[in-house]
């Protein structure tokens, strides 16, 4: 089975191609410039949501509390308020308490920002528009995001204040615990799609919105909400913001911070909110697809698919932003839990629930398959017909047709085995639905070692 996505170039490559038509230089240099440009783009994506959502947080909280929120700066809605705040914060004096471990105190905000920013490297913003496209994109994105906790802990510890230390400790306990249900729920889409490549997962949810994984089965439906709750906690957002808990711990892990360093923590927090929302959208809510099949298919045909991708970008941003707004909404609506309640929620409820969902979403298609003859309730879609794809073998694989994109491969692959086979590029996927009659002559697994 061919994946529709595989040949789509990443942004860096398209940028490099575009640049190469302008400047004639070595390919390495072109790629370097393209990568630098891309990093700039990503930084914009990293920074802008933060400013937008800080403003949104103020407006939403104000509306929820029946206030107006910022109204003057930058015009009617106060939309430049975040920028004004940023300028103010830059001007503030950079203080460090006398009892602090200076070096760690200074470094830890950067750790948080770096971890948060690095996770954006693995997020596809639209079809193929991803900085680093990896097969394990989801896995590594979550891995990098989980590094944020290190900065928080070190910040809490190096401040030399017991409130900060408490905040850091709580954050550690909370993050480490919530990683478990986060992983378990995030793995459900992986199971269904058979890949950890975020781009492919999203690509499989094309078509009508019934193809979105959230509607795939009752279990994935619940899993989405569990995932959302867990991401709230792993982002230390209310009602799980025990690391800050200003009513008990003054400011938690960032009590002693001020000025730019303080704002770094917030930059990272809002960027991570966007990242996990984006992850939720990609995994469950159809990513960059509008959910209306004709629009997507029409736009993906014209002009090399660029209009489709731009629309996809907009759709993705809209969906993610909506989820962020829901996070803000939750924060200003629900009271904060106690630390023991936070741990209890995770270990006693969320972990068992996500285990149950995990098992359920494995069993569900099997049960349906035996009952209805197809793995989904809804008409069979791209996910339902998908078969597991095995890794490209280093020797010729036997598939009846050749692949359209046959990328270069160092192996010599001219030796076929057995009659009636024709070899093709090793980049191909041998899949389960191939005719078993074509398998080569019986092979003995020779395992030496017996004496």
């Amino acid at each position: 089975m061919m994946l529709p996505m595989a040949a789509t170039p990443t942004i860096v490559e398209s940028l490099a191609g575009w640049l190469a038509s302008w400047i004639s230089s070595s390919p390495d240099a072109v790629r370097f410039v393209a990568a630098a440009l891309h990093i700039g783009l990503l930084a914009a994506f990293f920074g802008l949501p933060a400013f937008a959502f800080i403003w949104a947080e103020r407006k939403v909280s104000a509306r929820i509390q029946d206030r107006l929120g910022p109204t003057h700066t930058g015009g009617r809605f106060g939309w430049l308020q975040s920028l004004a705040d940023g300028i103010k914060l830059i001007q503030k004096e950079d203080l460090a308490p006398a009892a602090a471990d200076r070096m760690l105190f200074r470094v830890s905000p950067y750790l948080v920002v770096i971890a948060s920013f690095a996770s954006f490297l693995f997020m596809p913003f639209s079809n193929g528009w991803v900085a680093v496209a990896l097969d394990c994109g989801l896995f590594i994105g979550m891995a990098v995001l989980s590094l944020e906790v290190l900065g928080v802990v070190l910040a809490g510890y190096s401040s030399g204040s017991k409130w900060s230390l408490f905040g850091g400790m709580r954050e550690t306990a909370q993050m480490v615990s919530y990683e478990v249900p986060l992983g378990l729920t995030a793995v459900i889409p992986v199971l269904i799609c058979g890949t950890m490549n975020l781009n492919e997962i999203c690509q499989m949810q094309s078509g009508w919105f019934t193809n979105w994984l959230v509607f795939h089965s009752p279990f994935t439906f619940v899993a989405f909400f569990v995932f959302f709750v867990v991401t709230l906690a792993s982002n230390k957002r209310a009602p799980f913001d025990l690391a800050e808990a200003e009513s008990e711990l003054v400011g938690g892990f960032h009590t002693e911070y001020s000025g730019m360093r303080w704002s770094f923590f917030f930059l990272a927090e809002y960027a991570s909110m966007f990242f996990v929302s984006g992850l939720g959208v990609l995994l469950f809510l159809g990513g960059w697809w509008t959910g209306i099949a004709p629009i997507d298919s029409a736009l993906s045909e014209v002009l090399g698919g660029y209009p489709g991708r731009v629309l996809g970008l907009l759709v993705f941003l809209t969906k993610s932003s909506l989820l962020v707004v829901v996070q803000i909404w939750v924060r200003w609506t629900l009271p904060r839990l106690r630390i023991d309640q936070v741990m209890e929620t995770c270990l006693k409820y969320l972990v068992p629930i996500s285990c149950f969902l995990f098992i359920g979403s494995v069993m569900y298609p099997l049960v349906l398959l035996s009952a209805l003859g197809r793995p989904t309730l809804l008409p069979v879609n791209s996910i339902g017909t998908r078969v597991p794809v095995l890794p490209p073998a280093a020797v010729p694989v036997t598939t009846p047709h050749d692949h359209p994109h046959d990328h270069s491969h160092p192996h010599d692959h001219n030796h076929g085995h057995g009659p009636g086979e024709h070899s093709h590029g090793p980049g191909g996927h041998s899949s389960l639905d191939r005719d078993p009659a074509e398998k080569p002559a019986a092979r003995e697994v020779t395992l030496r070692g017996g004496r």
């Binding site: 595989a6 040949a7 789509t8 170039p9 990443t10 490559e13 390495d28 009892a99 471990d101 760690l104 193929g128 991803v130 680093v132 496209a133 990896l134 097969d135 394990c136 896995f139 590594i140 891995a143 990098v144 989980s146 590094l147 906790v149 290190l150 802990v153 070190l154 510890y157 030399g160 230390l165 400790m169 709580r170 550690t172 306990a173 480490v176 990683e179 950890m196 490549n197 630390i339 023991d340 309640q341 741990m343 209890e344 095995l390 890794p391 490209p392 073998a393 280093a394 020797v395 990328h407 160092p410 030796h415 085995h417 090793p426 080569p440 092979r443 003995e444 020779t446 395992l447 070692g449």
Partner: protein
């Protein structure tokens, strides 16, 4: 380009490791350990081992080191634990370490790896990972192979259509889960307070 990236990661890894040895403060040691281990993950990416690199970040840096820092916090008496080591001890162990290091470097720089690899491949077959990691098409490539190997299937281990003796790792994959369960039981046993018979219900979770 790749030389530059390698140099950055290698220097960070080695420098971090050295700083772990030299620093006198446990928390700083932990910080340098983070730097070192993350750079090791970077080296893994350079070696096209994307999945291992991600595992390193998630489990090692994000899990094990966090656990260690947690331990430091729980056991620290003063705000910063300073370790004073006996200078003579340091000198002796540095000398021994230097000797071991010299032996190791002398040993493996005396090996002709590429020629050996070719000969071994010719004689015994290979499972060399020749495919690039994240290539021009933007595909990392080790996930499915590792997944296959962990479920007992080895697809790259075929030479001339015959499977050569390459183990599938179904057994360790499964048995390590038993190990993890047992270890979890052990760690939680040590960590939990002894319940008093007839006492009140155990406290509602940890209070931090």
């Amino acid at each position: 380009m790749s030389v530059l990236v390698f140099a950055i990661f290698a220097l960070a890894a080695c420098g971090g490791a050295l700083a772990v040895v030299l620093s006198q403060n446990v928390v700083r040691m932990a910080f340098w350990l983070i730097i070192s281990l993350s750079s090791v993950a970077g080296l893994f990416f350079l070696l096209n081992a994307d999945f291992v690199g991600a595992t390193q970040l998630l489990i090692y840096v994000g899990g094990t080191v966090v656990l260690l820092i947690f331990g430091v916090m729980l056991t620290a008496q003063g705000p910063y634990v300073n370790l004073k080591t006996n200078p003579a001890e340091v000198v002796i162990s540095l000398a021994i370490g230097g000797v071991v290091f010299a032996m190791l470097v002398a040993a493996f720089s005396g090996v002709n790896w590429s020629a050996n690899s070719e000969r071994l491949t010719a004689e015994f077959g290979t499972a060399t990972l020749q495919t690039p990691g994240y290539n021009q098409q933007g595909e990392g490539s080790t996930v499915r192979r590792i997944g296959g190997a962990l479920s007992g299937l080895r697809t790259e281990s075929l030479r001339d259509g015959r499977a050569i003796e390459r183990p599938g790792y179904l057994l360790p994959f499964e048995i390590v889960s038993v190990h993890l369960l047992v270890v979890l039981v052990g760690a939680s046993y040590l960590a939990r307070a002894k319940r008093r018979s007839g006492g009140s219900e155990p406290g509602a979770g940890p209070t931090v």
